[in-house]
Symmetry: C2
Subunit: 378 residues, 2 copies
């Protein structure tokens, strides 16, 4: 039997907060199709979402516990969570992949909220969604993105403990860089070695690992590894989203191979100072835009191609809000954020740096072990 990631109290608290917000918004039910939202309210955690075959649904009523409407194959695992009302359908089904079961469940509600805004997706066939909404013609379906963002962006201490653990694992992995990476190694070997290191340090999985290397910087920050070999003078950057109990770290480190040019040293120093400038003002009441301004003031440039300088972190590699000049989201205690300045070095080269923090009533807590201003030479 699967072991829950949290005690039942965690889910009771999440549900209570959600239902308070539902009442404030006049919502009779919430409807979800995506992994993070289903897991948030149930604790149902499985890699089986990798398979696109079967839709999974969750309904949260304005009072009472959530209702899972799921394929029969998930019934055993869902029964190990705190959820009691589990309605299953045989899937894949020749004609009705849960739509009728879902319509029966949702038709009791007058006003139904679902995420339709920024960063949301619809993880069910559009054809089935249209069939569902036709059957719910006497209900009103509205966007509940803001409600969900507000709920999820403030973490519980239990969530923060998991995030602290996986960030610690990431930091321990990076601390061994000098023994793991060396000139002559291909980027593919670097990535393989670092994945294995993170698993050895206690990560459950490494769903995200990107990076690059080059003389005086790298070209982008989202590419898979190549056969390119590390050379003296290269800057190697690795950015990892490893997981433990379904919670992510998300930070990167830069390493100079053999030696670092003055330009690289200065860029690294500037990036670390930008993080420090944002962390220095990261308090409840400040906004994402304030963090953005604090960083760009140090960097002497805007966000370039990346589009932002950090974001929320939790059950997903990136969560709302975004640290941009236009995001006026107010920081709240127990928000977990990445601070992720990037710097354009010209000639198609860039450097990035990232740390993970918790906003506290006072100075933020660093979850990643902060990097020194001086770039590590290996």
């Amino acid at each position: 039997m699967a072991e829950p990631d949290f005690p039942e109290a965690e889910f009771e608290e999440r549900l209570a907060r959600a239902q308070r917000a539902m009442r404030a918004n006049g919502l009779d039910g919430l409807f979800f199709t995506t992994e993070a939202e289903v897991r948030y309210f149930t604790g149902f955690r499985t890699l089986f979402w990798q398979s696109p075959t079967r839709p999974w649904f969750l309904v949260v009523p304005a009072s009472g516990k959530p209702i899972a409407v799921i394929p029969q194959i998930g019934a055993h695992l869902m029964a190990s969570t705190w959820i009691d009302d589990i309605r299953t359908f045989s899937a894949p089904h020749p004609t009705d992949d849960g739509v009728s079961l879902l319509a029966d469940c949702l038709s009791r509600y007058g006003k139904i909220g679902m995420p339709m805004g920024r960063e949301s997706a619809l993880r069910m066939p559009l054809r089935d969604f249209r069939a569902l909404t036709t059957r719910l013609s006497s209900s009103e379906i509205v966007d509940a993105s803001d409600l969900m963002v507000k709920l999820r962006m403030v973490k519980s201490e239990r969530e923060i403990a998991l995030l602290r653990e996986i960030c610690g694992i990431g930091s321990a992995g990076f601390a061994n860089a000098a023994t793991l990476f060396h000139a002559g190694q291909s980027l593919k070997e670097v990535f393989r070695t670092f994945r294995i290191e993170l698993l050895r340090q206690g990560a459950d999985d490494v769903p995200y690992l990107v990076g690059g290397a080059g003389q005086g910087g790298y070209g982008d920050v989202i590419s898979p590894p190549t056969d390119q070999q590390l050379e003296a003078g290269d800057v190697l950057m690795l950015d990892t989203g490893a997981t433990k109990n379904g919670y992510f770290c998300d930070f990167d480190r830069n390493f100079a191979i053999g030696s670092a040019s003055d330009e690289v040293c200065k860029a690294h120093e500037k990036l670390v100072r930008a993080v420090k400038a944002a962390a220095d003002i990261a308090r409840p009441g400040k906004t994402c835009a304030d963090l953005f301004s604090a960083m760009t003031a140090v960097l002497g440039q805007e966000d370039g191609d990346v589009g932002r300088l950090g974001h929320g972190l939790g059950m997903q590699l990136t969560e709302m809000p975004s640290i941009t000049g236009f995001d006026m989201t107010g920081l709240k205690e127990n928000m977990v954020m990445t601070l992720e300045p990037s710097i354009d070095l010209g000639d198609g080269k860039m450097m990035v740096h990232e740390e993970n923090i918790v906003v506290r009533d006072g100075p933020p807590e660093f979850l990643s072990t902060p990097a020194p201003e001086e770039i590590t030479v290996i």
Copy 2:
């Protein structure tokens, strides 16, 4: 610069097949929001899809090359593919995450196809999708799921070569089971050890690893590992979807710890014979339903909670079609399939077994090294 997974000829062939099908269906354009479809036509491969923040769009016209409408952060990587027309937007954007750019691109087309059917999802906010369709009010948007399924389910020899490689890596990992797993080991250790083994054998990543263990069978086949320790008499099952160059293996193996009961031995034998029965008739012209019948005849029972007895395999852990009694999809040469019989042992226990094959003009090719009828005791 990223190295393409295939030569340009692969993408030219995919596009030519798609455009023939588009003409046959009277479609002026195809529109995609999901990872596999974008990668299928472009070769754009990145783990950055883990981040839900930014939508990514691809438009395939009835003639000419695909058009990428993507966040600026992906421009450098997309430029390393064969795509020439790359239109970028700053993302996250305060008001317009690519919708205007997309509407300008798509409004030239009268009839636009997009996946709306079985196994599809919409990876963009529903609110933005509605804004887009409003701006495309003079176009007709229709379901192109069948067209895409037919294209993707038949693999090229280049794709099959990648699938053969990752299945070989999975087989090599499982071959070392006796040295990797032992009584007293927790399932968490088993999973960690096997992930590391697969990486060492050459996998790029292990996005999917599930399994279970128990006396005389296990309870489900989608759960994450627990602290439960392997004991003598347990059956351990591991099911892995490891990747290389973005292509998946998907098969499992059962191991008896110390010894196997007669019932377990018989169940394992039956599962392997069911795979053989399906493989024996897997030829062009037979249907998925034929494979299903061949397996249930050996098993002496239907598909139980799992809902099917195998599926397509390729860029995703599971792809269309499904091996069910109702799926009349005709097998075609170069379809890559998993054969995945399961058996209900009563008392909440089950066993599964899985192999990966290519349908050929003659006997199928096994990509996974077929398991013997006798369960391996370790």
